[in-house]
Every structure is written in C-alpha cells, then in structure tokens.
Amino acid sequence: MTGEIERHEYDVVIIGAGGAGLRAAVECLAKKVRTALVCKSLLGKAHTVMAEGGVAAALGNVWPEDNWQVHFRDTMRGGKMLNNWRMAQLHAQEAPDRVLELEEWGALFDRTGDGRILQRDFGGHRYARLAHVGDRTGLELIRTMQQRAVSEGIDVYMECKIVRLTKDESGAVNGAVGFFRETGRFVAFSAKAVVLATGGIGKAWKFTSNSWESTADGQALALWAGADLIDMECVQFHPTGMVWPPSARGLLVTEGVRGDGGVLKNSDGRRFMFDYISPYFAKETADTIEEGDRWYDDKSFRRPPELLPRDEVARAINSEVKAGRGSPHGGVFLDIASRRSPEEIKRRLPSMYHQFKQLADVDISTDPMEVGPTCHYANGGVRVDADTARTTVAGLYAAGEVAGGLHGANRLGGNSLSDLLVFGRRAGLAAAEHALGTTGRPSLDEAAVAEVVSHAASFFNDDGGESPYVVHADLQETMQNLVGIVRTESELVEAGQRLGELTERAKKVSVSGARVFNPGWHLALDLESMLSCAKCTMLGALERRESRGGQTREDFPKADPELEKVNMVTRLSGDEVTVTPEAKPVMPDELAKLFEEAK
C-alpha cells in the first residue's frame, strides 16, 4: 500500500528552507559537501518571507556609537538575562559580516545618503540598528540566499514533510524519513549530519502570525530523537497583530511602524504605554511624551515606551483591553497617520499600507490601525552548543527559530533575521565538518524506516475517526485560552489534562482520499509535532514559577532571581515528556561588566 520508498544519500541533509536552512546550505556548498535541502513548501515560500522590519546588526552606519557590545547588552536585557551568553555574543559580533556578505550575493538594502546600508529603530535596541528593505526584509533575505544556493547547485527537495529522524546503533542521527506532499511518495534520506531549520510552533495557537508550516516539526523531531529542548514556555506574543477582519486576525503588523514613529493609544486617545514602564527599563525609557518624541532624532534622550521590548508591550495592550479601554474590535489603536506624512508612510511601510488597504479597507496613512497581541515566535527551542549549533544528540544540529538560547525569555525585533544568518552559517559549517570527519556511509535501520512509513500511512483508515481539522481547532482553543499571554497554575494543569485527551484523539483521526497532495493527511502528521511541543510549553510554564519575558504567571507576577540561572529542560523519558530545571552557562566577568557599567 505504501509503494516503493525513494532513497537519497548525502553528507548533510538540511530540513527547512527558510533563512537558517538556506544559510546553512550556502555554507555546506562552500565546504563542498553533498548537501540536500528539504522543505515542506515550495522553495522561497518559507515563513522568513513574512519578516518585515529588518535584520539587526551593529554596522554603525547611522549611529557610529553602536557596536557589538551594545547589541549584546540590548539582546541580553531584552531576553531578561535568560539568554545563552555565548550565543548572544557570537550573534552580536558576527551579524554585521553576515549582512554585508548578502550584498555581495545581490541583496539591495535601503541606503543612507552616503550609499551605505540604512538602519532603522526598533524596540529594545539602543541605536537604529536594523538593516532593511522597506518592510519586506525577510523576502530580500530569503530570495538572496535562495538565489545564491541555486546558483551554487543545491539539491532541493520541495514539498517534502519529514516524519521522523533515524539513528544508528551508537545513537547518532543518520537520516530522515518522510514523504513528498505533491505525490504522497515516501522518501528516506541517509546523511552523516542533519540540520534542523524548521522554524516555529505558532500554529498550535488560534491567533498567530505564523503560516501553516509552523507546526513545531523540528522541535518534535529533535525531542523524539532524544534531544533536549529548553525554555519552551517562553513564547513570544507580538504586540501588534491585526484584530480585524476576523479572518486576518493575528496577521503581523511590523514593529517598524513604531520604530518609524507610530504610537499606541487606547479608546480614550491616551498613549497608555507611559503607564506601563517597568522598573527594569525605567532608566532608559522616556517618561514624558516630549522626551520620547525627541529620541527619534537625538539619541541622548530616552526611548519612548512604545519601543519597549515586545513582551512588555504585549502585556500592556492585554491589560488595556481587559480594562475596557480597547478599540471596537478588541485591540488598541496604532497610529502613525497623525505622526508622519502619507508619502513617508507609503514609502517606509509599503506592505503594511497594502495589507491594511486590501484586507481591512483601512488607509494607514490617514487612519489608525487596530492591533492586538498575536502568537509570534518560539524563544525557546532545541538546546544547542553556542559555537557549533550541535544539539545534545550526535549528528544533529539546529539553527534559527527551532533552536533555543539566543533570545532568552524574549526576542528583540530584528534579532531573528540576524540569528538565521549567524547560526545558519555556524550550523552548516559544523555539520559539514562533522560529515567530512565521518568515514563510511550511513546505513539506515530498515525496520525503523518501515515503521515510520507504516505509521504515516496508518491514518488512511475506515475507522470513522475524527477529522484532524477538528482536533487541531480544539488544540488551538486550548493553547489560546489556557497557555496564552498570561498564565496561572490551575489553567496550566487543565491544559495538561486537555493535551492528554487531544493526544489520544489525534492518534485516532481518520483521513480520506488518496496520498497525492492531501492536506488532511498532512495535518494529521503535523498534529503529532504540535501536540508534543505544546506539552513542553505547558510543562515549562508550570515549572517556571515566575514572570520573565514570554512567560507571564498571574500567580507569580515577579521575576525570581534564582530562576534566571536555569533553563527549563524538556525531554522524553520513555514515552513521557519531563521537565527539569538545569543550570545555564554562566557569563564570564568581562562580559558581565558590560551590565554594571550600564547601570
């Protein structure tokens, strides 16, 4: 029934063709190792295309005062110090070179008057730091690297879903088994190293900025292969998603709107962010409208609170709406129309202009937008070694959103695109070197391959099970309502119970039709990974009894200094997911000093 299994052998197999996967591929090609790039959609469609505002890199083109130390510090403070210090250091140090090399491959960033790369302001960044192309920077990155990889002769396997990784007798990852969505044909890749670059987990929530692909595939593949995940509870809710029309709810509104001068107002017309300046950021945040407005042109003033990190702004909007001061459709107002000229708005934010005009019939150059928080990003993820992106399982690497550590409890805007570049390259390099140092050919455990295939095919049955769409909708309701922006123990316990029930239901769903491009079947398999990772998030949220970044506990509203020192590690123990607090790497003194000096 399952047909012949297509076979391929490579040195490195990269799963995911967003920014991180493409950058890893480019690096592997440079190392001349046989490389396959496997992606769930067509090439060039990955979620990276939706990144809007820019890529953070301390180029110092607009503010020469900027440097990697400042970027490092901003990143750590934005992440509420839960970040892996070494990742944050490498990221801040290497991002400028990674951006500049894109230019040599054809990227056309917006320019300064003297012909260098222009940089824009974003939340949590001390200086204007985001290299950008209007508000479609992600598209520029993905297209640049896609074109580079294609011109270097990359082998791409499109519309291919990986169901499980395979391992050899020593426990090292040596391949991946999946199927082509277009044809339903099964495929097994053998490889000396596998790089996970599969992105996020957002589709487990109801209101999300994520595309259908963000179903936690890589996190789950790693978990099932025995790797550790960290801090999965730190989910980023982006403060500004569209709230109307209902079908567009959750769609991202770039932070660039605020970076370029947009402000948040409640139904009383008040710039309410001034009421939500936490003591943690009080020293660097303007407390009057006059000072905040002067900051855009003079960085000796303090930053307006609309540009606090995302977790702070999302919580503030949530509180305003709960207090009855929201907009007609349950958000707040984001107003740039009264602050910048229509021409400037259309030039700086063309895709936002287009998106609101087309989908909501709102002209953002004359009227305010209605916005509210939307599930956006997994700050946590697969536990990796900072320098090599190696996971806790031999032969397996992870980079980009699927990996955890760099962003700590909350990611700053613009740091995801730089993350992709810096750690995509490092993962590709380490995987290629691992492959070059590995003798012999990987040989797959045929029984394991057959088991994966038969499991995947098992959803086609006449058992009269539920539709996977129904189980998915219930999962999204559960996560939205019980594991959302603000959490509490009783709700998390209830979520745990419901996730258990949903897992049982997901095992019994039935799929009709044939294997050729059958979205119901794809969803049945995506549900497995979403449910596994939803459990990790729930367990981490339960165990981390504090509020920090993307983890907000109503019953523990303050940060606990002891918990700053630990990652919440989730892993498989038998068939069960367990959570364990484990000490995270300690920052060396010379870097710790950067934070004292700043005080």
Partner: protein
Amino acid sequence: MMPIDTEPGTGGQPLPAEHKEPPSSRVPAEIVMKLWRGDAGGGEFVEYRLPAEEGEVVLDVVHRIQAHDAPDLAVRWNCKAGKCGSCSAEINGRPRLMCMTRMSTLPPGEPITISPMRGFPIMRDLVTDVSYNFEVAKQIPALRPGPKPPEGYRMAQIDIDRGQEFRKCIECFLCQNVCHVIRDHEEHKAHYAGPRFFVRLAELEMHPLDTLDRRAYIRERMGIGLCNITKCCTEVCPEDIHITDNAIIPLKERVVDAAFDPIAWLGRKIRRRPSPMSASEVAALGAAARSEASGGG
C-alpha cells in the same frame, strides 16, 4: 459542472472588469463556490455552499470548505498576507492571489469559480506543477560583483530603486501563467525564461555591482525576442511591478544594442567592466537545466 479544458483562458483577452464596489457588509448570507477538483487525468467543478462570514478573503472560504466538507482538497498557501505568492489561482477566470481577494470585491450573489492556474500542468485540485519556474531559475547567471573596495561597497538609493522594484517579486508565477508565449505554446518552455525571469535578469543587468555580460545569453538562451509585449504579465502582478515597461522593454533594448550598437550599450554600463560569460559557464547552466528530469528536486 464543466471540465476544465472548456474554461476560457484569459491570456491575451481583456480581463473581466473587477467589481469596484467598496468592501461592505452587503455580502449575501450564503456563498456558492465552485472549485475545480480533479487531477491530470481530468476533473470537474464541484459546488460548495456555506454561510458567509464577515471580512473574508477567498482563501478563507476555501479553508472552511477544506475543514468541513473536503479535508483532502489540495491547495497551496503559506502566509495568507500576500507576501509568499503560494495561493495563485484563477478566480472567476481572473488570475489572482486567493489570500488577497476579498469576498466583498466579487459580484455579490453570484457563484464564484476557482480553478487552478491554466498555464501549468495540474497535479491535483488547485495545485499545479510549477517546476518549470524552478528549472529556469537554475539557468540564471548569478550576480558577479566587482572587487570590493576596502571601505566596502557603496550604492546610491537612486541607483537601486528600480532593482528594489524588481525584488518585490513574490514568485507567485501569475505572470508566467498568463504569458502567451508559454500558456498556449508548451514547446517554448525549453528556451524561454518568461516574465518572472526577465524581471530577474533585468535586475541583475541593472545591479550597480554587477560586472557580467549576459546579453548574448538573454537573447539566445532566454528567448527575450519571443515576448511581444502584450502586458498581460504586468496586469496580473500582485506586487504592481511594471514588468513590461521597466524590465522587459529595457532588456530588449539592451540586447538589441548589444547586437547592433555596442557603443550605446557600453555607455549604459559605464563605470563597470563587463566580462562576457565563458562557454563553460553557459554549458554549466544548460546542464543544470537538463538535469531536471533526473530528479534532485
């Protein structure tokens, strides 16, 4: 119900006038949507009826049909925000993105037909085989920047404005879908790049850092001469790229200049020292194209 091959194409024909009413709450209570269902062997339009909901786009309705009535309905989509170019289809015969077509802009009370892009082989339902585009992409000679000055490259905004327009392309392939050179002449696909890749080639040719001379290649291997500038591609571009005026016509001029007036062409590439593609480079790109059938995705 009617088979797809009787569906009139729009390539070269005036596109149906778009319903210009402003979006409103006048959407009727029930939607009647006729979706093409089938595969390469044939198929038919299947009618679905469902209640209307506020503010929906066509893709939302398709998703609701998928979730309730047809879980195996094949449709490509990713971002649902007009940024990835996955959900291209022909809506009432008009090539568009399903995610950016609001229901309230379609004629109220009338059935809506959704068919797959006609210019590509059908795989299943609304999903077509667009691999032709990815094969052409392999044949595009990459950017070849000149030596990097010690202080790094500098480019003036004014010199990259046009390139940035071209790089807005989301590769929805609607322009390829309506281009008659290939829509009605499958045989041309072997030696014709199509509008999307003329945009890409124009971008490279106008790139301030580029030093490669692709003119002979564009004329001889990319088939620029076959385009007869009917502007169908420009009309369907969801990113409003002026494909014909800003990319294809200047590209045609350059190629002609190269053949008949090398001095005029050199004048445009001033400050650069273009080097022609070597025979081995051309052969390598051809080999990439021919390896298409042998797999490798």
